[in-house]
């Protein structure tokens, strides 16, 4: 069979109704889903900013008002506020880059890869951010005279948090890899 014949088979469907649309259901789904469109990254950024800024401020206030507070708690509060600021700066830079991509497939893939790269970096940053937070909390507790088993329990907790963060990080990394594979397929002959 030559290509012209394949073309005729293809064109034959133009006269045939393929599907019927339930317009009410479509309208409902669009309105439900459209709010989720720029979703995960946006939510992660806001969550990180609010949690770090909030926790940093509360910790700073509590430490300052309590006699005999250790330097580690001040450092922890400062670290959390710096983290919130770093996420804010990243978010502003991400939003400034948003409109630089065209609507060709290459442009869309570039955009999707840039977004996933950003998510990979953000998740990596947050994963490593657990380390100084854990060290400062444990140092503060030990200096404040808390028992050793309590510090040990916290170490276990932070190991679990790190494991969960690693899962999230690998999720974004594999998505990035899939998009890069698509981009390579498109560029190859």
């Amino acid at each position: 069979m030559e290509f012209d014949e394949l073309q005729k088979i293809w064109d034959s469907q133009n006269q045939r109704p393929m599907y019927m649309i339930n317009e009410d259901a479509l309208h409902n789904r669009i309105h439900t889903k459209k709010a989720k469109a720029s979703h995960i990254t946006n939510a992660s950024e806001w969550l990180l900013m609010v949690v770090n800024a909030g926790a940093g401020c509360v910790l700073f206030g509590l430490t300052a008002s309590k006699a005999g507070s250790t330097i580690f708690m001040y450092l922890l509060a400062g670290w959390m506020l710096i983290t919130a600021l770093a996420v804010l700066v990243s978010r502003i830079r991400r939003l400034q880059r948003e409109n630089r991509f065209d609507r060709s497939l290459v442009g869309e893939l570039d955009h999707a890869i840039a977004m996933t790269t950003y998510q990979v970096r953000l998740s990596q940053l947050m994963r490593w951010n657990n380390l100084p937070i854990a060290l400062l909390i444990i140092a503060g507790l030990l200096e404040g005279g808390k028992p050793l088993w309590f510090a040990f329990a916290l170490v276990i907790f932070f190991i679990l948090v790190n494991f969960a963060s690693g899962w999230e990080h690998r999720f974004y990394q594999s998505r990035k890899l899939e998009l890069e594979t698509l981009q390579r397929k498109l560029q190859q002959g």
């Binding site: 088979i9 469907q13 339930n22 479509l26 459209k34 497939l105 998505r175």
Partner: protein, 170 residues
């Protein structure tokens, strides 16, 4: 643009270009559930794209481009997270297959298209729907010569398969 204006344009585009969207859905999603899911995903992307449409291309090209871009990105995601999607029991189906007698030759062609990778599938659809090399290059963001190389390979592949296996008496 108000939401009501956006909804009016969306309704008009859907009526005029649903045929193109259906072809993309059938080429990229095999099961009824997947077709329904991909259709919703494309519709959401089309709805979002309305305020950014600058009339630099025809609406047909614009909608086709969004449908293909969404489908290509949907494929990888879909295979991986198929199990976690909402069940059809809990979601009202948006898309229903029309009750028409099946065209075996067309089914065979879609099966062959489905065997191609995501990128080649989009090029095949554009080729069969009469887009020029220049339009395809612009839609995909690659050079015309690269489009030419890919089309040459795809055509040879489809013709060879049609000669190898002819179960429907085409």
């Amino acid at each position: 643009m108000t939401e009501s204006e956006q909804n009016n344009i969306f309704g008009k585009w859907l009526q005029q270009h649903k045929g193109q969207i259906f072809k993309v859905i059938r080429a990229y999603a095999a099961t009824t559930m997947d077709q329904d899911d991909l259709f919703q995903e494309i519709m959401i992307q089309v709805w979002h794209s309305i305020p950014t449409f600058r009339e630099e291309s025809s609406v047909n090209t614009w909608v086709y481009r969004i449908a293909l871009n969404t489908a290509i990105k949907w494929v990888g995601k879909e295979q991986k997270y198929a199990k976690s999607r909402e069940s059809l029991d809990t979601v009202q189906a948006v898309l229903q297959e029309a009750k028409v007698p099946p065209d075996e030759r067309l089914n065979w062609l879609y099966q062959e298209i489905h065997k191609l990778d995501e990128i080649d599938r989009s090029i095949t659809l554009l080729l069969l729907d009469g887009f020029s090399y220049k339009e395809m290059a612009s839609m995909l963001g690659i050079t015309e010569s690269n489009v030419g190389v890919k089309i040459n390979r795809i055509k040879k592949q489809l013709i060879a398969r049609s000669k190898q296996l002819n179960p429907y008496g085409i």
